[in-house]
Symmetry: C2
Subunit: 244 residues, 2 copies
Amino acid sequence: MSPVEGATPVAAAGATAVAKGIPEATVARLPGYLRALNHLSDNGVATVSSGDLADEAGVNPAQLRKDLSHLGSYGTRGVGYSVAYLRFQIGREIGSAVDWPVIIIGVGNLGTALAQNADFGSRGFRVVALVDTNSALVGTEIDGLTIEHQDDLRRTLRDSGARIAVITTPPDSAQAVCDELVACGITSILNFAATVLSAPHEVTVRKVDLGQELQILAYHEQRKLDGLWPADDDVVAVVAGEAP
Amino acid sequence: MSPVEGATPVAAAGATAVAKGIPEATVARLPGYLRALNHLSDNGVATVSSGDLADEAGVNPAQLRKDLSHLGSYGTRGVGYSVAYLRFQIGREIGSAVDWPVIIIGVGNLGTALAQNADFGSRGFRVVALVDTNSALVGTEIDGLTIEHQDDLRRTLRDSGARIAVITTPPDSAQAVCDELVACGITSILNFAATVLSAPHEVTVRKVDLGQELQILAYHEQRKLDGLWPADDDVVAVVAGEAP
DNA sequence: CCGCATTTGTGCACACGTTCACAAGCTCCT
DNA sequence: AGGAGCTTGTGAACGTGTGCACAAATGCGG
């Protein structure tokens, strides 16, 4: 039993930073808002209402306002949000103000695709190192980056200064790579391998499984084929109820 | 402009009975269970307890049992679950018993990587068509598949019989592609483009944004650097004291 | 045949996330 | 100046998801 009674959330840390914890669900949506804002900015929009921004981001207006309220009060009642200002604030909160150096472990098809993904650059990430075990690949270049051997991971990490690691190796080696990364001090990992990684709790691990996404789609698709219609609003012609 | 909208509100199909409404959160975890089971099966394990399976899948044992209980009672008290049987049941529920034909729109780096991804095959998906607008690519082959031109999308869809579409085009063209797909009768779309797609509600759209995943990681990473420690349980050996 | 060890399935309580509805606040027009 | 018309920020209701704790069920050994 761990009587964590002092569940008091706030540490009452001055007015400076948002010392409070932003809900995970909100954090997951912030990048979407940021992109929506960038898009609006590109189109010359200077001010936007929660309704329009919510449309652009694909969420409910009330949700958007509540999410933003966790960051602070950056809107003006009766007017809306300044696109530039809100973009700056979210960007700062999310940490996309700085350039994050990223290392990619596993230069297969997916790893290569990610390394060449131009979108990363525009979002504040820079691929600074590529690593693989295949000695046929080591030494070759992708986008001006030389592929290093995985045995030199420790050195490569230190030299490149990478702070975020992306694992695109086969599933079997993923855990070993993860352990090595953690041993080298990496605390943020994006895992594309089809395995559950175990890591110390201070390390943030996110998993993206492309096959899994398809399987979830397949589930819904099958339901449609079976004629039973999944849950939308009220459209359901329910059975005759009968409850004990 | 394509006046595609088909926003036609449901036709109130007289579905028999919504036999079982499996919660979305559970559906999202089922593929993970399935993989865990396959892994165990490969290792010659015939029977597994909820605890061990939960470990393998990276979830709480109680959660696993509750999830499985939505499918039915496929376990044996005092013993556990038959790996083979449970695998069959989940596979059937999830629709991975059949081979799902998949079409990929946009043969850039990512699209190519996905097309060559061997993992899809082992999970019941088969890439049956590749489509792009770049005429330099059209006609070339990837893994024995000839790339078709996007103008022939309708025909390609019909010929290939694809039921699930993957969009890996640039963001600008994604919505147009989506509209065209919907017009051709596709009802399941996996979107890798950095845009929010709007589609009729009977179409299932899932979005995967790689940059977004990195940004979420960056947020957590920044928090760690700032010294304020995010939410874990009790492990908090946080900075020296504070308040009263 | 009976009790013991084990493990599932689930009712229940709690935490988290979402949406509604409305007061507070701003701008503009008369 | 004052009111009309918007839009934000948020309290409160609602729904969903999670995890605990325990009864029900099974196998085993004596």
